[in-house]
């Protein structure tokens, strides 16, 4: 099979099999599993045997949010690195300065941002 589109069909098959397995086992264990009693104490959230205090979903540090935002930006950088890496050797034959220089400028810009993040303590989890 030469066509690339056809190569995605086995991926769909694998997805089908994996999800069938996952949901199948969940269903089977729900049917076959022991049926226990329920009680108020058993239904409480686990907090080391103490009565649960407050709500289940506590608020968390803004730093996780910061990491998620930076992740998007860095992910986009990585996405641009891959087409560049693939053509790098071929492009060296044609226009070596362009392919090397263009990515170096891009990475320089990236580095400026990165140094700024570090100076602003974006990755400092102690404080």
């Amino acid at each position: 099979m030469e066509s690339q589109i056809a190569q995605y069909i086995p991926v769909l098959m694998l997805f089908g099999l994996a999800s069938a397995f996952a949901f199948g086992t969940l269903l089977f264990s729900a049917l076959a599993g022991k049926k226990g009693y329920r009680s108020r104490i058993k239904d409480t959230a686990y907090e080391c045997g103490m009565e649960p205090v407050g709500e289940g979903s506590a608020r968390f540090s803004v730093k996780f949010y910061l990491v998620a935002m930076l992740f998007i930006l860095f992910d986009v950088e990585v996405v641009f690195l891959y087409p560049w890496a693939v053509v790098y050797k071929d492009m060296l034959e044609q226009n070596a300065h362009l392919i090397f220089g263009s990515m170096m400028i891009f990475l320089l810009l990236f580095l400026v941002g990165f140094v700024y993040e570090i100076k602003k303590k974006a990755f400092d989890w102690k404080s």
Binding site: Q4, Y65, M69, L70, D90, S102, L109, G113
Partner: protein
């Protein structure tokens, strides 16, 4: 086979997209975010059918894998409860409809002008190599501008989230 897959994926995209904004069963923002993931994954399927393989992979990686994770974080950070049924005001509805109609009209006009169904063939396979070649010869300047944009984004992130730290 390809037509069938196209209809399946586009139906999935539309249905999931609809459920993101107007889910009749729940107003839970996490559910909306999860349907947005499904929308994006089925759109990646459409990209595959258009021979845009790189775009499909990147679509899932950046949107489903990064952007919506951020959405989930925001929903959980702000601890958004079920959104209440909004009260619609007439002015907003009219303006929204007008906007929708004009954008829709433009889209339909553009699609009709592009000559759909006139026996078009893709000019190139959307492989990573072709894309890289194009990007690093004809589109170097936009690429560098992208770099500046990302830099602005990075600075914006700090300004938004760390106002108290000088």
């Amino acid at each position: 086979m390809q037509e069938l897959l196209f209809y399946i994926f586009s139906a999935l995209t539309l249905i999931c997209g609809f459920l993101v904004v107007a889910n009749p069963f729940t107003r839970n923002p996490v559910t909306s975010a999860m349907f947005l993931v499904l929308t994006i994954v089925s759109m990646a399927g459409l990209f595959v059918l258009l021979n845009a393989f790189f775009l499909a992979a990147v679509q899932v990686m950046v949107y489903a894998g990064a952007v919506i994770v951020l959405f989930l974080f925001v929903i959980m950070l702000l601890d958004v409860k079920e959104v209440e049924r909004q009260h619609y005001n007439l002015f907003g509805v009219v303006l929204g409809l007008l906007g929708l109609l004009s954008v829709g009209g433009m889209l339909i006009k553009a699609i009709l002008a592009s000559g759909v169904g006139k026996d078009l063939h893709p000019h190139m396979e959307g492989t990573t190599k072709d894309l890289g070649m194009k990007l690093f010869t004809d589109y170097v300047l936009p690429f560098e501008i992208m770099g500046v944009l990302l830099l602005v984004g990075m600075i914006g992130v700090i300004l938004l989230s760390k106002k108290n730290l000088r």
